[in-house]
């Protein structure tokens, strides 16, 4: 596979991707940075965005200092022009809207998410890659819902996939609450989001039943809102054969038992090169470009770009 052979369609398309997954330390930042970097090498103009409010570290994954102006500065200013917040990196085609470690997301201005979406979509680039924080807080879910492609990063452990499913559940509920035109449905789903009804509503099927109980005429719209989400899973820190099977199995279980559309984009091996280079303030894609992880990232970036589903087909 040549590094320069993006099809014209692939290089022209503008998209916003978000890397999330609920749990901390799974490699969301490492993968967002390296996939973004790889696509910039393939000729796409990329802006990486650190949306981990309170835990920003995307700049360290790139080996650069925390930028003077952060994403939260943009959001707090209520601006819709993001270009001046996108700082150059040592790499061509790759810029960074960073975060500061000391800042938290508390008290964002009303309507911030819609303005942020406008700002990001007005950037004169081809791809915006958002790196999200851990947890299923409303800001994290809101930012993830802005993305055209939602990349769930999981390590092959039960607790990690539980976090992914819990994030997916919040994503769906928030999307339905925000987009369905009925106050009554909204109230019912909001009660489910936290309250005691939470246990009753696990899957998309459960959510649809809640909606049906209030207003069956909204079922079709609700289904469409869920189906149109592009969600894909990446397994990080893979060590053995069982780990290699984890992604396809997880995506199948999520589809079959939770009714969520989820494809499987591929895996990245656990590789000491990742943290060794990071410790020296370098990026493994550059300073360990022959490493197994770097090879995996090149394959993964390609799969994500082509929306290639690695799930088995029967």
């Amino acid at each position: 596979m040549r590094e320069t052979d993006l099809t014209s369609e692939e290089s022209r398309r503008f998209e916003v991707w978000a890397f999330g997954g609920g749990k901390g330390g799974t490699g969301k930042s490492a993968l967002a940075a390296s996939v973004g970097f790889q696509l910039s090498r393939l000729g796409k103009r990329v802006v990486l965005v650190d949306a981990d409010f309170g835990g920003a570290n995307l700049h360290t994954c790139l080996g650069v200092a925390a930028p003077a102006r952060s994403l939260l500065d943009l959001v707090r200013a209520g601006g819709t022009v993001a270009d001046e917040y996108a700082h150059a990196t040592p790499y061509p085609n790759l810029r960074l809207i960073g975060g500061r470690v000391d800042e938290g997301a508390g008290g964002l201005p009303v309507g911030w998410a819609a303005r942020l979406s406008t700002a990001l979509r007005a950037l004169p680039v081809d791809l915006v890659v958002l790196d999200l924080g851990a947890g299923v807080g409303p800001e994290t879910v809101e930012v993830m819902n802005l993305a055209d492609l939602k990349v769930m990063v999981s390590v092959p452990e039960p607790s990690s996939i539980e976090n992914v499913v819990s994030l997916l559940r919040s994503l769906c509920l928030q999307r339905l609450v925000q987009r369905l035109p009925s106050n009554e449905v909204r109230r019912r789903l909001q009660a489910v989001q936290s309250g005691e009804a939470a246990m009753r509503v696990r899957s998309v099927g459960d959510m649809l039943r809640e909606i049906e109980a209030v207003d069956p005429s909204l079922l079709g719209a609700a289904r469409a809102l869920i189906e149109e989400m592009a969600i894909t899973l990446v397994t990080n820190q893979v060590r053995d054969d069982a780990d290699r099977k984890f992604g396809a199995q997880t995506a199948a279980v999520v589809r079959r038992h939770f009714g969520l559309p989820m494809s499987y984009a591929g895996f990245v091996h656990h590789d000491d090169a990742v943290w060794r280079t990071l410790r020296r303030g370098k990026m493994f894609m550059v300073d360990a470009s022959r490493s197994r992880a770097a090879e995996d990232i090149r394959r993964l970036a390609r799969n994500l770009l082509q929306r290639a589903d690695q799930s088995p087909v029967f």
């Binding site: 092959p156 452990e157 039960p158 607790s159 990690s160 996939i161 539980e162 499913v165 696990r202 899957s203 998309v204 099927g205 459960d206 649809l208 039943r209 289904r223 869920i226 189906e227 069982a242 780990d243 099977k245 984890f246 199995q249 997880t250 199948a252 279980v253 999520v254 589809r255 079959r256 038992h257 939770f258 009714g259 969520l260 559309p261 088995p312 029967f314």
Partner: protein, 203 residues
């Protein structure tokens, strides 16, 4: 998994061959047998056991050609959508205990003494193009899917369905096409051929 067909339980489309049924079975079994990491986080031990039993039941039925044929006739008779629709909500959630077996449609054919297929799925007494089309649509198959299954060109299949007998290369060929079409639909080929050709007007 109430209302799930055997095909949906295995995660396959309803027209696949036996090799794919087997591969899907192996994959499904690996999901619930307790070796797979994701199911630990997402399903309870009870749910896994329930699913495993369902997967075995589905495979026992679909891996036996006779049972599978009867089962398909059941599906068609009940107008059940038999394509696996993994990504289309609403979706069954983890199997509710008890309800499962009784609530799933259609009832599983008995392996030992397969009942005769219910009437509506038999080849009707009168068969013309519209009847062919209705049979096909009751299985949620497109002309192109029949073409892929039967290896008969879709324009000939279309001609059969439109009763444009002159657009077909002749009676002998039509006969061959109809046999293939019947097999793709999993109905009796002799009955379908005989009844359709009764009204033959072409060369």
């Amino acid at each position: 998994m109430k209302n799930k067909t055997y095909y949906e339980i295995l995660g396959v489309a309803s027209h696949v061959g036996s090799g794919q049924i087997q591969a899907a079975y192996r994959f499904a079994r690996s999901l619930y047998s307790g070796e797979a990491t994701p199911t630990y986080g997402l399903l309870t031990a009870d749910e896994r056991d329930q699913m495993l039993a369902l997967v075995e039941e589905a495979y026992a039925a679909l891996s036996n050609p006779n049972v599978r044929r009867d089962y398909d006739i059941h599906l068609a008779a009940q107008g059940v959508r038999s394509h696996a629709q993994e990504s289309a909500p609403p979706h069954p959630e983890p199997v509710p205990p008890e309800r499962t077996r009784a609530a799933r449609v259609p009832p599983a054919p008995d392996l030992s003494a397969a009942e005769p297929p219910s009437e509506p799925a038999r080849v009707p007494e009168q068969v013309n193009g519209s009847v062919l089309k209705a049979l096909r649509e009751s299985r949620h198959l497109t002309i192109d899917q029949i073409a892929a299954l039967s290896k008969v060109g879709s324009r000939f299949l279309k001609a059969l369905e439109d009763d444009r007998h002159d657009a077909l290369p002749g009676r002998v060929f039509a006969r061959g096409f109809l046999i293939e079409y019947a097999r793709a639909l999993r109905v009796s080929d002799t009955e379908l051929v005989e009844r359709y050709l009764k009204h033959w007007t072409g060369k």
